[in-house]
Symmetry: D2
Subunit: 328 residues, 4 copies
Amino acid sequence: MSKLRVGVIGAGAMGASHARTLATGVPSAEVTRVFDMDTARAKQIADEVGGAPADSPESLIAEVDAFVVASPDFTHADLAVAGVEAGKHVLCEKPLAVTADDARRVVDAEVAAGRRFVQVGFNRRFDPGFVSLKGSITDGSVGRVQVLHGIHRNASNATSTDSSTLVTGSMIHEFDTFRWLLDDEIAGIRVESPVADGFKDPQIATLWMRGGQMITAEVYVNAAYGYDVRVEVVGDAGSATLEPRTPVVRRIAGQGGSSIGSDFVEHFLESYRLELAAWADASLRGEVVGASAWDGFAANLVAASGVRALTEGTRETVAVPERPALYA
Amino acid sequence: MSKLRVGVIGAGAMGASHARTLATGVPSAEVTRVFDMDTARAKQIADEVGGAPADSPESLIAEVDAFVVASPDFTHADLAVAGVEAGKHVLCEKPLAVTADDARRVVDAEVAAGRRFVQVGFNRRFDPGFVSLKGSITDGSVGRVQVLHGIHRNASNATSTDSSTLVTGSMIHEFDTFRWLLDDEIAGIRVESPVADGFKDPQIATLWMRGGQMITAEVYVNAAYGYDVRVEVVGDAGSATLEPRTPVVRRIAGQGGSSIGSDFVEHFLESYRLELAAWADASLRGEVVGASAWDGFAANLVAASGVRALTEGTRETVAVPERPALYA
Amino acid sequence: MSKLRVGVIGAGAMGASHARTLATGVPSAEVTRVFDMDTARAKQIADEVGGAPADSPESLIAEVDAFVVASPDFTHADLAVAGVEAGKHVLCEKPLAVTADDARRVVDAEVAAGRRFVQVGFNRRFDPGFVSLKGSITDGSVGRVQVLHGIHRNASNATSTDSSTLVTGSMIHEFDTFRWLLDDEIAGIRVESPVADGFKDPQIATLWMRGGQMITAEVYVNAAYGYDVRVEVVGDAGSATLEPRTPVVRRIAGQGGSSIGSDFVEHFLESYRLELAAWADASLRGEVVGASAWDGFAANLVAASGVRALTEGTRETVAVPERPALYA
Amino acid sequence: MSKLRVGVIGAGAMGASHARTLATGVPSAEVTRVFDMDTARAKQIADEVGGAPADSPESLIAEVDAFVVASPDFTHADLAVAGVEAGKHVLCEKPLAVTADDARRVVDAEVAAGRRFVQVGFNRRFDPGFVSLKGSITDGSVGRVQVLHGIHRNASNATSTDSSTLVTGSMIHEFDTFRWLLDDEIAGIRVESPVADGFKDPQIATLWMRGGQMITAEVYVNAAYGYDVRVEVVGDAGSATLEPRTPVVRRIAGQGGSSIGSDFVEHFLESYRLELAAWADASLRGEVVGASAWDGFAANLVAASGVRALTEGTRETVAVPERPALYA
């Protein structure tokens, strides 16, 4: 089998993790190029994974079969478009773009190319727990879904540092999760917070799916105690809850329980490996799996509506345009 | 010790359960009179607990030291007022009244009497699990509370049979729970449902406390799988979740887990006993513990706002008037 | 209903708890007499529960309908025999006697009287969790039982202060539990410890039932972290485990879990109330429920074999004599 | 990085799983040869993973850098010795040999070679849950370890089909687990069963470590309900229990719980990948990690003693000879 020659753009925590995971866990790929604005960092990670640093994103794209975008969010859309135009498969970290308009450009580029190249890094779609949760819907266990509840907490905020980026950077995971779980578009959104002024954290979103389901989602990026992602799906026959627990229970000094980590990369490490492996294998076949550019665009649309809802105190309708046939 | 002579008005499932619990689990009380419109039923329960049937609520009130109101909701307020006027201690099942105006009459009667006689049967305040949950707030474990999430599901609907009584009969438990947990009034409410027409079940309420906290509450009275009440309290230092589990885990045929009952009376039986015992002991001392008439009135006010919010599609402000000094 | 006039002999922690539980949770009984070698203590508890102190166990027995034995273990058998001879119902705390010979005297007294009066305080038989666990056997859920595993840990040792009393005072609960769960006699026992010298704590017992099942039981009375009692029943169709958990889960500072208490009285408080209520009601009917004198004797026999097995390093056969017809 | 050219001997369920895991999850290795007595099967798996079938184990060994032994148990020791003599790294599935004498031959071959080449496939040492459990000991959380309890259940028996192979094929995992967790040798063993005749399943082992700890281990290969491996470590400061749970809790029809799988390969799939990756990386460095030939030999010694103990009804001393300096 020939391997997929992969470039990694952006060698920060996420990019370095992806480069290492590809090198140590995905035999169908090899990391041949790494780019970062910090050239020393790029060289360090490239050395570590057996590749070479690239001079620019452009040269990197020219020298690889496919590439991972883990650079700052504002660069995502342009790099994804560049990948489409170069005919190279792209795994673009979420969000696909900072604005829905920018995300739309990626969709338009694929439609113009008549072919899909971009997978958006909504890794939960590859997490065995989330896959099992979805199975509780698709196998009919919970019956007709009526309500979902999502919890998304970080110990302390990293990238989501103001009221808007909490929606566009963190809560966007929930938007994709709900769309994917229910295989449906989000039709309406409200976002509110118990915090009146300054950084509105936590936030509580209320969402409506086209199919009628209602969803509550709490995102709290300074929840102090640890990283905690849970989803409950409630149907007319039962309920299914994803609530991960480490497998060791300690009973010490009057307390019995398990440790809760604070690092989402570690929490989802196996899902990242499965995501990268699925992406590499699909890229070798000329296919795209996981979240598409359309999914990335739709998530951006919801996020934009969410920011508006939070700012204006309104319930916003999410106006998702007609889906191009390419994403049928 | 002389015993509290107790009458029970209403010998349906709840009233009969209370009569039996008093007879078998509360030594400081004795059930001396039972009234029910169904006189045969009244006699049967009276015989069972060692009391005598009463001819009318009025005669019952005259013949006892204190009484339990477990008759239909529309009779609650008048009976509570009659108790106040007769100077008899009353344990009135929730809700205190069908309307907030009626509940106000009970408050006014107590204010006129210059003394409290009425405890409202919000039994969760005596449930060891709820008491422990409140302890996680008052002992500072979770830090400053930001958000609460409530779940209240029944296997199938009993008394809550339309969109409004779901709020006034079932969700009213959540209203009292949140007020009690946070020792604060509810300031605003929204109630929505994924069900467009007919019986709106499940319903999702969003609530705001005066102190700023936001709350989501799902009530689903036809949840099919069983009776399930959970509350999570989220603060800036941590989270505490009440999630009862039966103590036996069975591993059979590829599934490991615990049974979930469908009967709320059985679920909360010990809390009913603790509630009745606390009521009887306080009545003997001439005191009132647990939820007061004011608490019952406040819950009715929130419920009225909730019904309006559901019907009108609005967010309602809950206008709680000034609290009389009697309830300080 | 006339009440059962109850005397309590021994007003230590257990006796005082029983007196209070009778007074506040068992309407069919009233504590009329309390005896303790410490007469001030007896008066204090008697005052608290509305009874009077007794001058001696003998006078107490003469002045009540029934009595609870919660005095030191070495007094149990004589008091139980005195109860039988006086025709008074007795709830005797475990163990029924210090030696199997002494326990046999109680059995013989009942056989001579032709009637049973004695219930032994193996309270787990009334604990809802244990009752549910037994239900997993009797309803066929786990299939044919093959193996049981018991865990019994205290935070620190109270009454079990040497290698022998750990068996006769603590592990004796397990002996009764296994006999009751499987409705069968214990046929053989081995008791060993990882501790070579001094106080052998923890201890591990291996037991064989007449029906062939094997059992492991760990008893550790200085387990430091808290009070923890668990039992797993393993059959050829599945497994059922009693593993109580407090209903509130806290997530704080990287740990998620529940509190573990250290006080067995508090842990089993509701089971003590159910035990005392069942005893009082049965006594009023002239019946005995729960563990009989025979069960107490059998547990003593097993304990004696267990001490021998521990001391000698042997596997001991438990020679249970033929069961008198009175206990059929 | 040049890759480790790996041969896989034995293409049954375990061997095929290892070949696939290497091909899809271990970039530092490539499966170049596959041997199986069933040549069609060998070709099929070889095709699947991009390698070629080998004519014989001998030719396979000559043509690779390292190899995996997943052929029938009776072939293990000879193949491991052949690997040592050829200077090739070997990952030998457990058990290292059928008899302790045969396992000793592998140790002797390594001692003669003056170098270690063999890793034994005790995969639990690479399982994140087991690693975390061991961390509870090494970080001092549980204090000084006193007792361990192991549970090892299969839904139905596969390779362990008689009383002896249950010990040598299944329980041998526990022997290695306890040695590894406590970093100590097993000094004594007893193995018993509630089943008197025929296939003695379940079996209960009692073990003693040199350091004094006592261990109970239940192995039940026809436990019907699913695959279930648990270990509790009990120290004088607390307890740590490995009890894996799938992350989705379903509440359906009066039952709340999680699914339990029946396939141990699936259960431990990630640990197999981590084991194979660690082996490949270490082999490239000329090192051996994980369980050594000495560990394999020690486990065989304990298993032999265990079979004797089961057959004779004795407590057997495990006479572990002095450890060669090579394994210090």
